[in-house]
C-alpha cells in the first residue's frame, strides 16, 4: 500500500475530478491522490496525511482561488515542507505571481489550462524521479 500522495488544489470540482482521474490513470496505485477545493481545505488534507503518515510528494495548485491565491499557498507550503514539489495549474496566468512562486516556492512547473495529459504526466514523472 502506497504512502506517498499527490495533492491537487482547485476551486472547481470538475477540474479536481478530471485531474485526479487523469493522474490515477497515469500513475496507477503508486500514489494516493487527494483533492482540495480551497487552500484552507488543502491544509486540512495535509494535516490528515501527516496523521496517516502519508508523505505528500507533489502539490498541483490553481492560482485564482478565493481568499488565498495559489502562489501564496505554494510559498507557505514551501516554507513548511521544502521537499514538496510545487506545480501551478492555471487558466489565467498572472506573470508576477508565477515569478513570485518561482523564486519563493521553488515552483517546479507552471501548466496552463487547458493542459495536455502528456505534459502533466511528464511534469509529474520528472518531478518524482
Amino acid at each position: 500500500m502506497s504512502n506517498a500522495a499527490i495533492l491537487c488544489v482547485d476551486d472547481e470540482v470538475p477540474i479536481l475530478k478530471v485531474l485526479k482521474e487523469q493522474l490515477k490513470r497515469s500513475f496507477g496505485n503508486q500514489y494516493i491522490y487527494e483533492v482540495a477545493q480551497s487552500v484552507e481545505e488543502a491544509w486540512l488534507v495535509i494535516e490528515e496525511m501527516e496523521q496517516d503518515e502519508v508523505k505528500i510528494l507533489v502539490i498541483v495548485s490553481d492560482w485564482l482561488m478565493p481568499n488565498v491565491r495559489g502562489d501564496q499557498f505554494l510559498i507557505q507550503v514551501h516554507e513548511r515542507f521544502p521537499e514538496v514539489v510545487t506545480v501551478m495549474l492555471t487558466g489565467q496566468a498572472d506573470e508576477g505571481a508565477i515569478d513570485r512562486a518561482k523564486q519563493q516556492a521553488n515552483l517546479y512547473a507552471c501548466l496552463r489550462k487547458p493542459w495536455r495529459e502528456e505534459e502533466l504526466q511528464q511534469v509529474i514523472r520528472s518531478a518524482l524521479n
Binding site: E12, L16, E34, E48, G91, W115
Partner: protein, 554 residues
C-alpha cells in the same frame, strides 16, 4: 580646401552679423536704446533752446546799445545846440554813460568776444570822438565840436549803427536757426517715440502671438493625451475582461480535454476487460456488478469534497473491518463513482478474488458517462461566456440609441466577472420589473464593469455585492452596493475627478469613474454629445456599505 575654409571663416561673422541685425530686437534692448536717445534728444533740445534764448537776449542788448548810441548822439547835439553843458545835460550824460556801460558789460558777457570785437572798437572810437566834442562844447568851442561831428562822429555813428543792425540780423538768424533746430529735434524725438512704441507694440504682439501658438499647441497635445488616456482606460477594461474570460473559458476547456482523454483510457480498459468478464465473475457477482454500475450512473449533484473525504475514511474503515484488501483504493473508487450508501450488496463481490478487477471495470464504465456529463456542462458554461462576451462587445458603431433592458446588460457584465464574483463574494439581486429604455448598451456595460470591478476590489477578503434595479422618478435606478471598508470622505469628493486613483501606480488609470460619470451624464438623446445620457451617478459610502447609484431617464 583652404580656400573653402577661408571663405567659410569669412562668411561666418557676416552671417552672424546679419542674423544679429535681422533678429528682432528684444523689448529690453529697444527700451534701453530709446531711453538713451530720449535723454540725448532732450539735452540737445535744452541746449538749442538755451542758445536761442541767448541769441534773443543778445539781440535785445544790441537794440539797447543802439538806443544808447542814438541817445548819446542826441545829447551831444543838444550840447552843441545849447553851446554849453548844463546841469541837466551833465546828469543825462552820466545816466547814459551808466546805462551804456551796463549794457555793454552784459553784452560782453553774453555775446561771443569775436563777433562783437568790431562793435566794441567802433563804440570806443565813437565814445572818444563824442567825449572830445563834448569837451569842446564845455570849453565853449561849439563850432569846433560841429566840425568833429561832421568829420568823424556822423560817419562813426553810421558805421556803428550799421554794425549793430548787422549783428542784430545775425542774432535773429541764429535764434531762428536754433529754434528751427529745436523744433526739428522735438519732431524727431516724437517720431522716435512713435517708432519705439510701434516697435515695442510689434514685439509685444509677436510675443503674444507666439505664446498663443504655444498655448494652442499645448492644448492640442492635452486633447491628444486625453484621447490616448481614454483609449488606454478602454484597453485596461478590456484587459480585465480578457483575463476574466480567459479564466472562464480555459477551465471548461481543461475539463473537456482531460475528460476526453480519461474516457479514451476508460473505454480501452473496458474493451480489454470485457472478453474475460464472464469467466472472472460468477452470476451472483455479475448481479452485484450491474447493481453497482446502475447506481453509479444515477444522476447526482457534484459532491461536496470535504464531506466525501470523511465518508471515504468511514467506508475505508468499514471495508478494512470486512477484511477487504486495498480498502483505501476501493473506498476511493466508490466515492468517485458516487456509491457510498448501503454497500452490503457489494461485500461478496469485493471479498471475492476479482473484487478489485470488477470494481475497476465498473468505475471505467461509469466514468465514461460522468465524463460526458462533465463535457456537456463545460460546453454549456463556455457557450454562456461566449454569449455574454458577444453582448459585452456589442459596440453600436451607428451611434444610435437602442431599446435595451438594463437588467440584461447588468447580467452580461456579471457573467464576465463570474470567475471573481463566485469565489468569496455573494451576489444579491434585487430586480424589480422595469420598462426598457433607449440607451447605448456598450457604454452602460462599461459603467457596470467599472462599478462591479471597483466593488470586487473593495472586498478582497469577500463580502456581499448587492445589485438593485428599480423604477424611480420616471427613470430607472441601478445601485451597486458592496460591503467593503468604504471610501473616506475626503476621497469621496474626488473619486469622479479625472486621473484620481487610490490604486497603486500602474493598476488604475484614475479614469474609470470619471468616464462612467460622463457616460451617465450623456445618457439622454439630446443632439449635443455632452448631454447624451443626462442621468446621474452618485455615491454614498460608510464602512461596510458603499453604494453607487445610477439614475437613467426612461
Amino acid at each position: 580646401m583652404s580656400t573653402y575654409s577661408d571663405a567659410q571663416a569669412a562668411a561666418i561673422p557676416n552671417l552672424w552679423l546679419s542674423r544679429k541685425l535681422l533678429r528682432p530686437l528684444s523689448s529690453q534692448s529697444i527700451l534701453v536704446i530709446s531711453v538713451g536717445v530720449a535723454i540725448a534728444t532732450a539735452s540737445a533740445i535744452y541746449f538749442l533752446n538755451q542758445m536761442a534764448e541767448r541769441s534773443s537776449y543778445t539781440r535785445l542788448l544790441l537794440t539797447q546799445v543802439k538806443e544808447q548810441v542814438s541817445r548819446l548822439n542826441a545829447l551831444e547835439w543838444e550840447g552843441i545846440a545849447k553851446g554849453e553843458i548844463d546841469q541837466n545835460l551833465t546828469e543825462e550824460l552820466a545816466e547814459n554813460q551808466q546805462s551804456s556801460d551796463a549794457v555793454l558789460s552784459q553784452l560782453r558777457q553774453v555775446g561771443g568776444a569775436d563777433s562783437l570785437r568790431n562793435l566794441f572798437l567802433l563804440y570806443a572810437e565813437y565814445k572818444k570822438e563824442i567825449d572830445e566834442a563834448l569837451n569842446l562844447v564845455a570849453q565853449g568851442q561849439a563850432e569846433e565840436a560841429i566840425s568833429i561831428d561832421v568829420e568823424g562822429i556822423d560817419e562813426l555813428y553810421d558805421e556803428l549803427y550799421a554794425e549793430i543792425a548787422g549783428l542784430e540780423q545775425v542774432y535773429v538768424g541764429q535764434q531762428q536757426q536754433t529754434r528751427w533746430l529745436s523744433d526739428f529735434g522735438t519732431a524727431l524725438s516724437l517720431l522716435l517715440a512713435a517708432l519705439v512704441i510701434t516697435a515695442l507694440f510689434r514685439q509685444f504682439n509677436h510675443n503674444l502671438q507666439r505664446k498663443n501658438q504655444e498655448l494652442e499647441a499645448a492644448l492640442q497635445e492635452l486633447q491628444q493625451a486625453q484621447n490616448h488616456l481614454i483609449q488606454q482606460e478602454k484597453m485596461a477594461t478590456l484587459g480585465q475582461v480578457t483575463a476574466g474570460v480567459a479564466h472562464e473559458i480555459n477551465n471548461p476547456l481543461g475539463v473537456i480535454r482531460a475528460s476526453a482523454n480519461n474516457t479514451n483510457r476508460a473505454l480501452q480498459d473496458v474493451l480489454a476487460a470485457l472478453p474475460t468478464f464472464h469467466q472472472r465473475l460468477t452470476p451472483e457477482e455479475q448481479e452485484s456488478f450491474f447493481e453497482l454500475v446502475t447506481r453509479a450512473l444515477k444522476p447526482r449533484p457534484l459532491e461536496i469534497l470535504q464531506e466525501s473525504r470523511s465518508l471515504k475514511r468511514k467506508i475505508m474503515a468499514d471495508l478494512k473491518e470486512q477484511g477487504i484488501s486495498d480498502a483505501r483504493d476501493a473506498a476511493d473508487l466508490l466515492i468517485d463513482m458516487g456509491v457510498y450508501e448501503q454497500l452490503e450488496f457489494l461485500l461478496p463481490l469485493l471479498k471475492g478474488e476479482q473484487g478489485n478487477w470488477a470494481l475497476q471495470l465498473a468505475y471505467n464504465l461509469s466514468c465514461s458517462f460522468s465524463a460526458n456529463q462533465m463535457i456537456l456542462n463545460a460546453v454549456e458554461r463556455s457557450a454562456k461566456i461566449v454569449f455574454s462576451l458577444k453582448n459585452y462587445s456589442h459596440f453600436d458603431h451607428s451611434g444610435q440609441k437602442q431599446r435595451m433592458n438594463v437588467v440584461d446588460s447588468l447580467e452580461t457584465t456579471i457573467a464576465i466577472y463570474n470567475s471573481q464574483l463566485k469565489r468569496n463574494i455573494d451576489i444579491i439581486r434585487e430586480y424589480q420589473d422595469i420598462p426598457t429604455l433607449l440607451g447605448y448598451p456598450d457604454e452602460l456595460i462599461q459603467v457596470w464593469t467599472n462599478l462591479i470591478h471597483n466593488a470586487i476590489q473593495a472586498m478582497p477578503s469577500g463580502g456581499t455585492l448587492t445589485l438593485a434595479v428599480g423604477q424611480k422618478d420616471e427613470g430607472i435606478e441601478v445601485t451597486v452596493t458592496d460591503t467593503g471598508e468604504g471610501i473616506p470622505a475626503d476621497v469621496q469628493q474626488r473619486i469622479f475627478d479625472a486621473f484620481f486613483t487610490t490604486k497603486p501606480t500602474g493598476e488604475g488609470s484614475g479614469l474609470g469613474l470619471h468616464i462612467s460619470q460622463k457616460i451617465i451624464e450623456r445618457h439622454q438623446g439630446r443632439l449635443t454629445i455632452i448631454e447624451r445620457h443626462q442621468g446621474r451617478l452618485t455615491v454614498f459610502s460608510q464602512p461596510g456599505h458603499t453604494q453607487f447609484g445610477v439614475w437613467l431617464p426612461i
